[in-house]
């Protein structure tokens, strides 16, 4: 029987990126049939350092990282069911969408995109739920 709740420690990046920023956050948590991935910002998965860029480049960085996280946990981008995207401005939605479309093959997951004030100068946050 699968565990009802399990914290999956990503092997692909530096010791613990979340706690290195002083946040009480797990990156990937399994619950039931699903993997829940925290809202990701653009970081270098090796060093855990913030990577600042454009909406397009941050989206690319985040989704590359997300792909690694899911695959390390035995899932994949093809098994994602829902994605939530927060942007610093909805005027940037087409720039995000264009990069996003290169990562998710057909048929893509369900998705919601909105604009919000994001912390620390971040331009994009992407959160997802995938089948384990």
């Amino acid at each position: 029987m699968s565990p009802r709740r399990e914290i999956i420690v990503p092997a692909v990046h530096a010791p613990d990126t979340a706690s290195s920023f002083g946040q009480a956050v797990s990156t990937v948590v399994r619950g039931g049939d699903f993997l829940f991935v925290r809202g990701l910002t653009a970081i270098d998965p090796q060093s855990g350092e913030r990577v600042r860029g454009t909406t397009a480049s941050e989206t690319r960085q985040i989704l590359t990282h997300l792909k690694q996280l899911l695959e390390a946990a035995g899932s994949s981008l093809e098994k994602v069911v829902k994605v939530n995207v927060w942007l610093h401005s909805m005027l940037e939605a087409p720039n995000m969408n264009e990069v996003y479309a290169r990562f998710f093959s057909d048929p893509p997951p369900a998705r919601t995109v909105c604009g919000a004030r994001l912390p620390d100068g971040v331009k994009v946050i992407i959160e997802c739920t995938a089948l384990a």
């Binding site: 039931g32 049939d33 699903f34 098994k79 069911v81 829902k82 994605v83 939530n84 927060w86 942007l87 401005s89 909805m90 939605a93 087409p94 969408n97 996003y100 479309a101 998710f104 048929p107 893509p108 997951p109 369900a110 998705r111 919601t112 995109v113 909105c114 604009g115 919000a116 739920t129 089948l131």
Partner: protein, 129 residues
């Protein structure tokens, strides 16, 4: 297993009309995850800007179509994220919202956000399949 729920009316295919790289909804693990629901005409896909109340009415109509086409319904909503353009309209949202989830309403969170195309409300929902 992950099933795509196709748009139940041509207007609700936001990928076709607006290029959004998303499926209308995905069924997985006994749940239906819907893409953010917007006030578009279910036949033509045209944007139906209006008051928060009128936009919410269009959205609930679209959501009902989508969920029922997937064998679910508004009575089977589990969680709702209601995005509104300004928290000053919170009471207005509540007034229209309760008409559609009269019995055993789902868990819900409301927040103010920028919604695409200047819409006043968007619903992001999960329903039981």
């Amino acid at each position: 297993m992950r099933d795509v729920i196709a748009a139940p009316a041509t207007g609700l295919d936001l990928r076709q009309h607006y290029g959004h790289h998303q499926s209308p909804a995905i069924r997985a693990g006994g749940l239906i995850f819907c893409s953010g629901m917007l006030p578009v005409d279910p036949q033509t896909g045209e944007r139906r800007h209006g008051t928060l109340t009128s936009e919410a009415q269009v959205i609930f109509g679209n959501l009902k179509l989508l969920l029922e086409s997937a064998g679910s319904s508004l009575d089977r909503l589990v969680q709702v994220h209601a995005l509104i353009y300004d928290s000053i309209e919170y009471d207005v949202l509540n007034r229209v919202y309760r008409q559609y989830v009269a019995n055993g309403p789902p868990a819900r969170t409301v927040w103010a956000a920028q919604i695409e195309a200047g819409f006043k409300v968007e619903l992001d929902v999960i329903a039981a399949a």
